[in-house]
């Protein structure tokens, strides 16, 4: 689908580009310069135009940044990327820095003299980021210096242009609510708290609000834009591609004005009244523009976040349909894998290609929802592993294969992880898989009172591993969009998330266990939050529960029935029975036979 940007990220490109950057830093009087992996919209994927971090350093992970001084260049990466960064950057010139263990302000304090000036592009950093940095640097004499001109363009002559892909309407019958109604509803919510406008900078918020989609960014069906929503429900949309402005206005009707992107900054400066702005996502530049206006800033959540997370009935129905379609593709893949892998000819790249082929064969796949993770044996233990030609590994008997993947369909976004035993699995892998599965089942079975958030449920998924003295270093679950980003907030299943779960939210449920050098295990289903179904013997309590959306067998070769509670065994058998009924009619021949065997009672 979308071509990712490969050619420029070879390590040998780094040093000359670094020299060029240092030269313009010196010309502009900067002692340091920050290169984040970010665009002005803070998404997980960025367009080639914004792959400055990859272009400069060679590092292509989904998070990180480079801090450059005249003598040092630190590439700050978190635990997911400690192996990858060493393979991708020229470590003679770039130094990987463990982050967040090492704080940027400490690094800068050590690297710079008092009076040092740290340049940054104020469109690429949020208000919250720069506030924190300035607070921590207080008293050091080091100052932050906005530098928002075409700084990088001076040293990157063949830089790809910013994306201006077409914008398309998202059907009302899939969205479940016309965009005019959404604008009126969110505008009213602003009015109720006495606010006059809200600044929107997140593409998925804007796409959701206006029932629009785009292809500016890989894996996320969004377009890049900014917007100002007013309490009367009217929207001013700031979009790069001038040609399409009239078309969008015609499509959306009264209440939406489309303006050139370049006017956004000035329009924010011209605002008055009370204006909501999200410091966690708004570019620093926009926060400054708001502060320079006559308006009173109200720093708070993007008002679309929570309403977007609570899916409409149509979005849930669409998501259910997408999961049945995607589940059939997964079953075709797993049947193929079980037939081919024991012969020894399947590699990680082969598995990724085959799986994408099965998804494409649905004739409904619009994109994959993120880069497929397929890690065999020890590669499975690298949490955000993306196979490439150098790391590719044959899938060998006695190993586990971890496959985390998903599809973007017009009616919904999927995300599923299955871990598969190739041949006879080692005993410890079985005990570990069973513990991970027990955690996954606990979340799936949970009923809970309203008010409970991800921080309260997270331990249910970890408990079976904890009692073995084990754990996993990632969250248990993230929000998922409806033909939008596969990672969306505000809800999560994580110790750090106190957002109460609400009806209609979609979450992943993906505990894992990673034995470095040996295997990785992760099991992931998507869940929707629903009112708890009636139950014999239940008290009269207002509770919520999860509806499982993903229907793909769990690898029974990796389950130790002796570890299970009676209720867990019942859950597995019921899950497989429901999977057979849901997916059986959608697959044929050997895949159907494979599915029947995979779904037999334990």
């Amino acid at each position: 689908m979308f071509q990712t940007f490969e050619v420029a990220t070879r390590p040998e490109n780094g040093p000359p580009r670094l020299s060029a950057l240092r030269q313009i830093m010196a010309e502009d009087g900067l002692d340091a310069y920050l290169v984040p992996r970010a665009d002005a919209h803070q998404g997980e994927y960025v367009a080639p135009h914004d792959e400055v971090l990859g272009w400069l350093t060679g590092f292509t992970g989904s998070a990180g940044f480079c801090a450059v001084t005249a003598r040092r260049a630190g590439v700050f990466i978190d635990g997911r990327y400690r192996v990858q960064v060493r393979a991708q950057v020229d470590t003679d010139h770039f130094t990987p820095v463990h982050w967040p263990e090492t704080k940027l302000w400490d690094w800068l304090r050590e690297a710079l003299p008092s009076g040092g000036k740290v340049g940054f592009n104020p469109w690429l950093h949020t208000r919250a980021e720069i506030d924190k940095l300035e607070a921590e640097l207080q008293g050091t004499g080091i100052t932050m210096a906005r530098h928002d001109g075409p700084f990088i363009d001076r040293i990157w002559p063949d830089r790809p242009a910013p994306p201006e892909e077409p914008v398309t309407a998202y059907p009302d019958d899939l969205a479940g609510e016309p965009q005019a109604d959404k604008r009126a509803r969110i505008g009213k919510a602003l009015a109720e708290v006495g606010e006059d406008h809200a600044i929107l900078t997140l593409p998925d918020s804007i796409c959701w609000l206006l029932n629009l989609r785009g292809t500016d960014i890989p894996r996320n069906p969004v377009f890049q834009a900014f917007a100002i929503l007013s309490a009367d429900g009217s929207v001013r949309l700031y979009r790069r591609d001038g040609r399409a402005h009239k078309e969008i206005e015609t499509l959306l009707g009264d209440g939406v004005t489309v303006l050139p992107e370049g006017m956004f900054d000035d329009d924010v400066r011209a605002l008055s009244g009370k204006v909501r702005c999200d410091p966690k996502s708004a570019p620093h530049e926009i926060a400054l523009a708001l502060e320079a206006s006559a308006a009173t800033p109200v720093w708070g959540d993007d008002p679309c976040l929570l309403p977007k997370a609570c899916k409409t009935k149509a979005e849930l129905d669409g998501t259910r349909a997408a999961h049945l379609r995607d589940g059939a593709a997964m079953v075709n893949f797993l049947a193929w894998l079980d037939a081919e892998a024991p012969k020894g000819g399947v590699t990680e790249i082969g598995a990724v290609t085959a799986l994408e082929g099965f998804r494409r064969a649905t004739n409904a796949l619009l994109d994959i929802s993120f880069e497929t993770i397929a890690g065999a044996g020890p590669n499975g233990a690298i949490v955000h592993y993306r196979v490439n030609e150098d790391s590719d590994r044959a899938v060998s008997p006695g190993e586990l294969l971890l496959v985390d993947s998903g599809g973007q369909y017009l009616d919904g976004t999927t995300d599923i992880t299955r871990t598969i035993a190739i041949g006879e699995p080692p005993a410890d892998a079985v005990a570990s898989y069973t513990a991970v599965l027990q955690g996954m089942i606990a979340i799936s079975r949970a009923r809970f009172p309203r008010g409970v958030g991800g921080a309260h449920l997270d331990a249910l998924a970890r408990f079976p591993l904890w009692t073995m003295g084990r754990d996993y270093d990632h969250g248990t679950g993230h929000g998922v969009g409806a033909y939008l980003s596969v990672h969306e907030g505000p809800q999560r299943i994580s110790r750090l998330s106190d957002v109460a779960l609400k009806e209609g939210m979609i979450l992943s449920n993906e505990p894992g266990y990673y034995r470095v050098g040996a295997f990785g295990i992760r099991i992931e289903n998507l869940l929707a939050v629903i009112p708890a179904p009636a139950l014999d013997g239940a008290d009269d309590r207002d509770m919520l529960a999860f509806e499982t959306l993903t229907w793909v067998p769990l690898d029974r070769r990796l389950i130790d029935p002796a570890q299970l509670s009676p209720a867990e065994r019942v859950w597995i058998n019921e899950y497989h029975d429901a999977t057979l009924r849901a997916i059986g009619p959608r697959v044929d021949g050997p895949a159907r036979e494979w599915l029947e065997a995979a779904c037999a009672p334990l």
Copy 2:
């Protein structure tokens, strides 16, 4: 032990006292007056001198307050006391108000005209309480009016005097740290954050810091005092009883000055530098005194809270010994109950008396640690039920008896709940007890990374009930002192507690289930937080775990083995085996035989 204060709390006393209060309110120009169940030290138990709420209204619950206007008198009580309040107050003159559902400010706003003056004693309300109330009343024209003279004394001529009981030393070998070392340690911690003094108003903080104990308050071995701790480790202690001041100074040596209580307020006014004061516990009056001083207030936690919660090795050893002693008393009680109750002659009061007798027979009991709860049948479903002569109920076959009790021993404080089947239990009671037990076991078995707090573990205890559509409306666990208060902070197992658990903390683990009109179930052990023991197959992770402190059998007649996971069954058998080994040598004759049968493998 301590005589609680009974005679004045008859409903018929209420109306004349209420009239008297209204008259002095009118004389002093107050439109409302607040009567909290509190002293200046914010404990759960108060001395008879401070039982103003009980004296006025008849209500003797452990939490609540009365708001009196010329025409209304609202008794604010939470869910635990909705039945009790109606039995204790004259509802022709007092109106029970559901709290916190009804906010005091809303009630005042409705009851008072603009310009209304709400009198309160600023020693009996915390800074945080009054701040919140004033913030919520802003714009209503209703104001709060301090009234700290002998207001109630004018209408309560035979009011008991404030307590002035002797103060005694707590042995260093039980405390595990000499008081001079504690003062130096906490003083240093203040110095490290740049603070010069800390104001202490909580009796258990002061008792802990100075290795002292007292008997001013029922059930809590503390004395009432205030203190100012300075960064150099010196303490000024403000204590009512002038006769003992020299003795205490001699006992504690250099660095401690004992002064009359009446000087505290003025000494706070004379402070300078940075002064820590806890807005959640300091009286409003003291917060005002601090603000009137030359000092810079630092609003933050009482600096003794966390160090006191993390017990020394000596405190843990003492607590273990206390639990063995208390466990033997409990086993004697349970054996007696099993022999006597089926005959039909045991009442709730009989059970309470017998249990206290067995504890007293240890010759080491200094007090019970709270009023014993013994609820038979439907009385068990009243969460904070305290039996009295009117409510007393025979324990009948086919019912459950819930007994929640504890002892104060010099070496430790205990708190244990057991639920016992009398005769053949109903099937639903067995399923419910088993679910409660599964939650209790999950907490007991938990290993968890450092940083995890009670909010993260709470769901483990509730999960088995949640999956049945059930829950309980109280926290899962509270901190427990070492020969101090049976309820202490800062740690809790509750969705509302994000305090990270630390080595040495003692917590209760007490899930429950309450079927109104039928039965109550609660199972409670105390736990200590310890470094997770070595475990085969564990990863190299720095984890914590719980050590069980309570060794008393669980009622096997109430356990359905078919509901249990393999790991849960192992835990129960190991717990019973360890209980037999720990308590067996401490009981004789029929109790020993009963214990052996109770501890046989499932």
